[in-house]
Amino acid sequence: MNPRRRLTRPTRWPVVAVALAAALAFSACAGDDPGDAVGQPGFDDCAENPNTCNSGERDDGGSITWLVVSKPTGWNAYSPEGGSVYTLQMLHGIYPHTGMFAPDRETYLFNMDLFAAEPELLSEDPQSWQYVLRDEAVWDDGTPISADDFVVSWKLGTSPEQGHCDGCRSRATAPYDRVESIEGSADGKTVTVTMKEGEYDPEWFGFLNVDSIAGGLMPAHVAEQNGFDVDDPVQLGGYFEWLQANMPTFSGGPYRIVEGDFENQVIKEPNENWYGEIDPTLETYIIRVIDDQGAWVPALANDEIHGGAPIQLNEDVVSGIRELPNVYSHIHPGPSWEHIDFNIDVPAFQDVELRRAIFTAIDVDDIASRNFGEMFPDYTLRTNHVFSADSPYHVDHVTETGQGSGDTEAALAILENAGYELDGTTLTLDGEQVGPFRLRATADQARVTSMELIQSYLAEVGIEIIIETTDDLGGMLGEQDYDIAQFGWSGSPLFVGTAAQQWMTGSGSNFGNYSNPEVDRLVTQELTATTQDEAAEIANQAMEVLVQDAYVLPMYDSPVFIFASDGYVNVRDNTGESVRGVYNNHEWGTAVQ
């Protein structure tokens, strides 16, 4: 054949068609320009400057509607039914609080709008600290914020056995039961908190902060105005229920609620008696409940909402939002992290070598990549059971052990050394098949993908995994109705007590019934640490033991996202607090055009 044979008309067009088809195929397979796919100008530098990104000059006036993704079920965040992050988000800006973490999850900011000076520790034994309130700090009706509010807020959170409140139903009482007294000066502006003998809280600065049980201070004077004597335990219990039943129209923060319900929305307006440094410029600030993910994008496109910070990362929603013009969005590691736990009561899992081998065979990076790699290539793997990678206390306990590496050869070596044999494709011990094991998690897409991948990894070491999803994670864990489970924990920069909660023998959140006397000793010691540094050091020691016991395999920080119309400034996420994007709602404003 003559290589120089000219293409004749019959053969030319098919070649052109093939070339075009190839070009189309390549263009479809090619990745998007990262500048288009990941983030948009408003949140561009949030990874480097989480505390100041999307800053700008505010114009006066305007209104914003912010999304909350689930209905709160009560106005009183102390109560079991009202105690959700959605209640806190809805009410943030109403209650004065003592402080919060900044978006960098490291810097703790005392509320200097409320305090004349930074709170200070007075003594360590008994532990006591002091707040000095600004004279300007008042509730919206002009009543000064005082020690009385601290006392009422404390008592409302105590258990009935303490004798302060008969009828209070606080969902968590330990932080308050440990307090011996709260006293105020004659003018009520100096508040002294004293812990009980033998009690010590290295995270005392978080008392009554934004993430506390109620999200801040409750007003004592409102109780009196409504006929409740706060010194009478029974009447204080009545006030507890009054707070639950009544929408708060009072305020000690930058906003006050003027109308609303927790089924649809609450409407807030600036508090005219706001005493803080930065005044809200928005005329109205609406929190709207939309609990169907499919409704977010059309509502955003239709200008019915202007922003939100959902906890669930849904690829369709993210894609839809990214396609909208004039909307900023940003994906970043969230406060929750995924992990895999064993049920130690399963006889096979009494063998630590089997547990280590299973964890070694699981490729955590692959799972994270498959789940989030396209949407969020900067996902972070979790290598510490308490501290996220950006925490100053973070120590990588996991990588050097090989757990989570997906190294099948190493896993098989561990098993072989422990006396296991691979009989064809089935792992055996003394001739008996090891497994099969039930791997359980909720049915959301990321976890289903994860379970399927784990099933494939463990098949390579001869272990059969049966996947069973659940609609009732709490029930499943509570009843230990699993062999291996995947679920998430919500992390916080306030960590003291987390280790005890999750790993101490018999602890309520130690679902897999793990027990190690050394860990018990260390986590108990952590509870009595006098500083966060000391507590972190002890927690890391406990984790060293925990990792060797291969009870929990940390996987990754679950990414979350935030979105906001580009017509607003100073809107940014704060995964250091459960209120997330609304943490600085009084600083929001319409952008100067």
């Binding site: 009560g74 105690g83 968590a172 059309p298 239709n302």
Partner: protein
């Protein structure tokens, strides 16, 4: 007929009873109502969990809880259907299930009534046209539209209509709303603005709900109209020289509406239940949203309250349909 109606109502009681037992068991075994509470951070003390279990009667066995729900005997005064109390909710002691159902029923009714009126009106018109012009292009077109609406799932229709509404707003400046029964802030609205705002929020979900009902009704009306048009008395009317319009409107249509009237009564019940998906898509806080919320929270007593109302509506609708048939068709008599 009164005897017949009474007999039907009495027969409905064991049906409702059986349905209530079935649903109670299903909801009870489907999950832990306190799962969200157990997973709160920080985790609640065991005493808090125990107090909630006592409040919700979760410390009793399932049969005991069912009897408690039904009779209220042994309760704390907040439970007992026969005493008019629906029981405590996981949403707190202040949450009154009966009040909530009543309020949401009105929201759903608003949506359903308008949707059904539109659906019936359009179904009659299109059914008659289809029948009168059988096998014409118009007939094929209307048939196609009917089957299309019948084939598409309600939530998908809702989502499509929502997208269409947003597109229309962007292209033509129309004011369709996609979420809720009203705008978030209507405090400054005058009467006209309130009316237009309500309409703007009503149009899209009504359209979505209407399409599903219209599809079935139009097929019924077409079939019924065809049967009547081919009957002897209509043929006689034509033979007498009456104009086609008079024959269709005065003689045929009246008879052809009888099956539609009875089907419509049944459809009321079906549409109230069917509004579940539409309310979720459009974020209306009606009975459907209440039901989904209650199921997701494993709130047994709330679900049972919804079931009782839904069951009564279905039974009443069936009874009305049967009685209506006897009223409209003198050949029918019930003993």
């Amino acid at each position: 007929m009164v005897v017949y109606a009474a007999r039907r109502l009495l027969a409905a009681i064991p049906v409702l009873l059986a349905a209530s037992v079935f649903c109670f068991v299903l909801i009870d075994i489907s999950g832990d109502p306190l799962a969200d509470l157990r997973f709160l951070e920080p985790p609640p003390e065991p005493e808090v969990i125990a107090a909630e279990e006592a409040r919700l009667y979760l410390d009793r066995s399932m049969p005991e809880r069912y009897l408690l729900w039904m009779t209220g005997i042994g309760g704390n005064g907040d439970i007992g259907l026969l005493q008019g109390r629906f029981g405590p909710s996981v949403r707190g002691p202040g949450f009154d299930i009966a009040d909530e159902i009543a309020a949401r029923f009105l929201v759903t009714l608003r949506l359903v009534v308008i949707a059904l009126l539109l659906a019936i009106g359009l179904a009659v018109i299109s059914g008659v046209i289809s029948a009168v012009r059988q096998y014409s292009a118009v007939d094929y077109t209307l048939t196609f539209v009917g089957f299309l609406a019948l084939a598409m799932p309600a939530f998908w229709i809702g989502a499509l209509i929502k997208e269409g509404g947003v597109w229309s707003n962007q292209q033509f400046g129309t004011g369709f709303a996609t979420i809720g029964a009203a705008s978030a802030d209507t405090r400054e609205y005058d009467a006209w603005q309130l009316f237009t705002d309500t309409a703007a929020h009503l149009i899209l979900p009504t359209l979505a709900l209407m399409l599903t009902a219209y599809a079935a009704l139009s097929r019924y009306q077409r079939a019924s109209m065809l049967e009547v048009l081919n009957s002897d008395y209509v043929r006689l009317a034509r033979a007498k020289g009456l104009r086609n319009r008079i024959v269709v409107r005065r003689h045929a249509l009246r008879t052809a509406l009888i099956p539609l009237a009875t089907v419509s009564a049944l459809l009321v019940a079906g549409t109230i239940d069917g509004a579940i998906l539409i309310e979720r898509v459009f974020q209306w806080r009606g009975l459907g949203d209440f039901f989904l919320d209650s199921v997701s929270r494993n709130d047994s007593y709330s679900v049972m309250g919804w079931l009782m109302l839904s069951g009564i509506i279905v039974i009443a609708a069936n009874l009305v349909a049967d009685l209506l048939y006897a009223v409209l068709d003198p050949r029918i008599r019930y003993g």
